[in-house]
Amino acid sequence: MLVIENVSKQYGNFQALNSIQLEFQNGIYGLLAPNGAGKTTLIKMIATLMFPTKGEILYNGTNIVALDDKYRDVLGYLPQHFGYYKNYSPEKYLFYLAALKGLDKSTAKQRINELLTLVGLEDVTRKKMKKFSGGMIQRVGIAQEMLNDPKVLILDEPTAGLDPKERARFRKILTSLARDRIIILSTHIVSDVESIANQIIMIKEKKVLYQDTVAHISNQLKGMLFETEVSLAEEDQFRDNYQIIGERQEQEKLIFRFVAEQRLEEAWQEVIPTLEDVFLHVYEDDQTLAGSMK
């Protein structure tokens, strides 16, 4: 079990995360938040690439910094920007990393074959990676983090640069891996985690807003989400009065999907909220976005 115990992170004078409290059991966790919310910051601390300014991170009750190489031995990590040696083939790079991860040659060989097949790179194992597309590189990244069969697998925006087909394939791979390990994956794309995550974690204003199942989080908006037709003449006023989450145009009419405290008009259709609705609602007026340095 992995526990984030009251962790804060400060970059100089800038507070990136404040008193984060989280617990992870085996399963998939989706760390869902917009750009600049602090996903990478949190993930780098879990990967021991950075250290909390306050608080600590415990794996089975021991601080991960004290566990040192014993923790890294059970850790798999895919950084947001996966670095590689351009002149290496995936096979060579994986052999190199497998050695650093403490695998012996024959185990490594078998594992690398399995993993390259799993990510669909079995035909290009000996090609130099400088000739690879972004999606192919990302798949090498996914293979590399599974080398040591980690108990804690963290992925920072793993689907960036993957096309829809590859995203679907990636979700399938993750689900197949989730049985006996903790998987934490960060993203700002709701559909990446909606269908596969056991729990969703949302960070807002440097704090944990939710750690809950998709269903529970979606229920936050139950009874408050509606769709209705609005004529072009009424459009501006409607926008001022309600928080619009989605809109589409049908002939002369606009159809708005919006949040309201309660149903005020007969014509309003109550709709079942999705995770995406909550995401858009929650971050509608988010200051981290406007205030972020990026």
């Binding site: 780098k44 990967a47 021991t48 690439l49 950075m50 250290f51 300014t53 910094v65 040192d68 190489d69 890294r72 031995d73 850790l75 990590y77 950084p79 920007h81 996966f82 670095g83 590689y84 040696y85 190199y96 990393l97 050695a99 650093l100 991860k101 403490g102 012996d104 590399q144 040591n148």
Partner: protein, 252 residues
């Protein structure tokens, strides 16, 4: 016989198992011992992983030998080497090989694209760096010995004395550089340190030749021996820190 056997309090089988397993786990704990950790690491990784950039290292060393030799030869007209005490030269230039290794191949660059991937592995860059620096220092010692032997063809030098002098200079410098590397990750600082060392020694030997030589030559052999051993021990301590550093918590 049987009687005396009974008198000895003999631990239960379960106890034995437990004790054996604690002894094993503690004995197997690779952090317990610096040397055994390095040895295990070498056995698991092998030369080609730890020195992934071996060809680059060789190229750099050859290139720098060519450059330095060329430089010394062309400076030969300017500075009259014969006026220089050969031991001054040895003391001043002994850390140069080590410096080149440490400057170019410390492999600890946060800007490197693969940094994050390599850093989360069981054997990460800290541990590779510790192994490499130790190897570099020993190789530098050998290179220095070869240079001393080379000098002996031309000058009358006491090899043991020259070797100790060169090694104390090497490890004194290595200790300073290593501790700088532990806390400051800037190449500029390393460069300044190197320039400082060379310039400091050259200037000291030029402007207060008498005192410099007295210090250098009046120090008895066994003191140099102690300096070598002492600085080597401190150097190892630094490497140990690199290997199992708790200061990691502070850097972020």
């Amino acid at each position: 016989m049987q009687n005396s056997n009974k008198k000895i309090p003999y631990p239960e089988e379960i106890e034995i198992d437990q004790e054996i397993s604690t002894i094993l786990t503690e004995g197997m704990d690779s952090r317990a011992n610096f040397w055994s950790f390095l040895l295990t690491m070498y056995r698991q990784l092998g030369f080609r992983i730890i020195f992934r950039d071996f060809t680059e290292i060789i190229y750099t060393i050859i290139l720098s030998i060519v450059v330095v030799t060329g430089l010394l030869m062309s400076l030969g007209d300017l500075l009259i080497w014969n006026d220089w005490n050969v031991y001054t030269i040895i003391f001043t230039f002994s850390p140069v090989t080590y410096l080149l290794f440490a400057y170019f191949f410390f492999i600890f660059q946060k800007q490197k694209p693969t940094y994050e991937v390599e850093m989360v592995c069981k054997y990460n860059l800290y541990q590779l760096a510790a192994f490499r620096m130790l190897t570099f220092s020993i190789v530098s010692m050998l290179v220095n010995s070869v240079f001393i032997i080379g000098l002996m063809m031309d000058q009358s030098i006491h090899f043991g004395y020259a070797f100790l002098l060169s090694s104390s200079s090497l490890f004194l410098f290595a200790v300073i550089l290593l501790y700088v590397q532990l806390y400051v990750f800037s190449r500029l600082v390393k460069l300044l340190l190197a320039i400082g060392w060379l310039l400091g020694n050259i200037l000291a030997s030029i402007f207060s030749e008498g005192l410099y030589l007295i210090i250098l030559q009046q120090i008895p052999l066994y003191i140099y021996g102690m300096i070598v051993i002492g600085s080597f021990v401190v150097y190892l301590k630094g490497l140990k820190k690199l290997l199992f550093a708790s200061q990691r918590e502070r850097m972020s």
